[in-house]
Amino acid sequence: MSIEDASGQGVTITQTGERGAFGGELLTVNFGPHHPSTHGVLRLIVDLDGEQVKRVKPVIGYLHTGIEKQMEALRWQQGVVCTDRHDYLSPPINNLAYALAVERLMGVEVPPRAQALRVIMCELTRLSSHLVWLGTSGIELGAMSVLMYCFRERDTIMDMNEEISGFRMHTSYIRPGGVMADATPRFFDMLAKFVREMPRHIDEYEDLLTMNPIWRSRTIGIGRLAPEVAKVVGASGPMIRGSGIAWDLRKVMPYSGYENYDFEVATNDGCDCYARYLVRIQEMREAVKILGQALDRLPDGPVNVDDRKMLPPPREELETSMEAVIHHFKLFTEGYSVPPGDVYVAVESGRGENGCYIVSDGTHKPRRVKFRSASFVNLQALERMALNHMIADLVAIIGTADTVLGDVDR
């Protein structure tokens, strides 16, 4: 398969009687949508020559939620709850993409403290997303105990989410115009403790896996994705960084003040599953670094834009100001309208480039919301990675591609 022919998606299902390299008949195996691997409702139609994978055809859509249509029926500020649930391992990052897009169309800029709080939430989420990935990938490749360690720290992050927003997973914390509310002092205490302790925990995961002979033999040399192919198929996130290309939207197209933080883009030249694992581990360390910096130089000030047409007035004003009551009433019955136009904002999620493209026709509901999801694009590279590997390695490849089916199907 040449590089230019990288799509490889026009596969046809095996004709009866087609012969493999060893003279046997190619066998078509259906893999999913309900299968022992923990990566959601992904269905693969795999053609096998003996144990070797010859063709993979992903069948998706088993988690199609109609989020894009739903958001057309919701008002601008209501749409935030849908963004949480499409890539359900990194809700605040999706919130951020949507919020930045709406703010760019409205032409507002959030205060520095809100930007820093957004960065804190995004990096916490990146950590929890990578922790879920590490734990479930460990289970898939037979390392059961990693999950227990990973979810211990994930629960710490969930507790922090709960402290700052009142909810464990789908925080809806980042909203157009700022954040839900300022963080509590207790949150900062928890965060400081977390930043202090997390590097030691990452060492623990590495102790369990990095030099583990089973883990290494299951991942090294498996699922190779050459750098030039990774570029052509549009891979992003740890997929492209695991192929040695330092492409991180936080660095190349900074948003929400990421240019003020000092961190490295984790890359690895291995191009295989092990390289992607190392990249994610490194990213977790960098995320902790960013959290520490954000905590140290958190600016003071408001956490929301001062725009009564966009955000409700503070509760105490409602009792004294008639104008505030009118604004409150208008916002919660009709909502605000966004000037006509379209905008695309891309952010770096745990999986790669998660973008939000919105079109406004000037009314109080979006005309169109489109999510560019990293998993959807990364999954297209699956066939090229899995070709000529054993069927058991397919699980390792899906695992380290880290597709979230909610993100693929939306």
């Binding site: 998606q9 109609g66 760019r104 052509v232 492409w247 379209d342 695309y344």
Partner: protein
């Protein structure tokens, strides 16, 4: 460089550069842009401008191709307007591999036919689904919710559609 006569309109929307190209010559324009360094297709999608009063639209369906130059760090949005039933446009899956699934998705949800696509089938909805859900005249569906403002319109298309 993309030829001048291929660009019928251009501008900047909220900081994003965009150009409009004539739909029949889309492939030509995309190939020129690829030569120009825009080697990555970020996403491809469609917007249904049915009963959209914000502006005069040349046609009902607007196809959008966001392309990116990863060396010079610039993005460009390419628009093409198509009409008709079914709306039809050339496929670019061989120029930009990520377009393959995006085109299938756009076909699935908007019913836009990409001629030259190797396997233009439904991707997200079940194979036997009728209708194209993301068109504006397709109802949101679901079940009616009592005491909500959308109670009446939830199941039926909007009157102007």
């Amino acid at each position: 460089m993309i030829a001048e006569e291929l660009i019928t309109d251009k501008g900047v929307s909220a900081g994003d550069e965009w150009i409009t190209v004539p739909a029949p010559r889309l492939r030509e324009a995309m190939a020129a842009l690829k030569e120009d360094g825009y080697r990555l297709l970020v996403f491809l999608t469609c917007v249904d401008h049915l009963a959209d009063a914000s502006k005069e639209w040349p046609a009902r369906f607007e196809l959008l191709y966001e392309v990116r130059d990863m060396e010079k760090l610039r993005d460009l949005r390419v628009r093409a307007f198509v009409d008709g039933e079914p709306p039809e446009i050339d496929s670019v899956h061989d120029l930009f591999p990520p377009a393959n699934w995006d085109e299938r998705e756009t076909y699935d949800l908007f019913g836009v036919v990409f001629s030259g696509h190797p396997e233009l089938t439904r991707i997200l909805m079940p194979d036997d689904w009728v209708g194209y859900p993301l068109r504006r005249d397709y109802p949101v569906g679901g079940e009616p919710v009592e005491f909500s403002e959308e109670h009446e319109t939830w199941l039926t298309p909007p009157p102007e559609a």
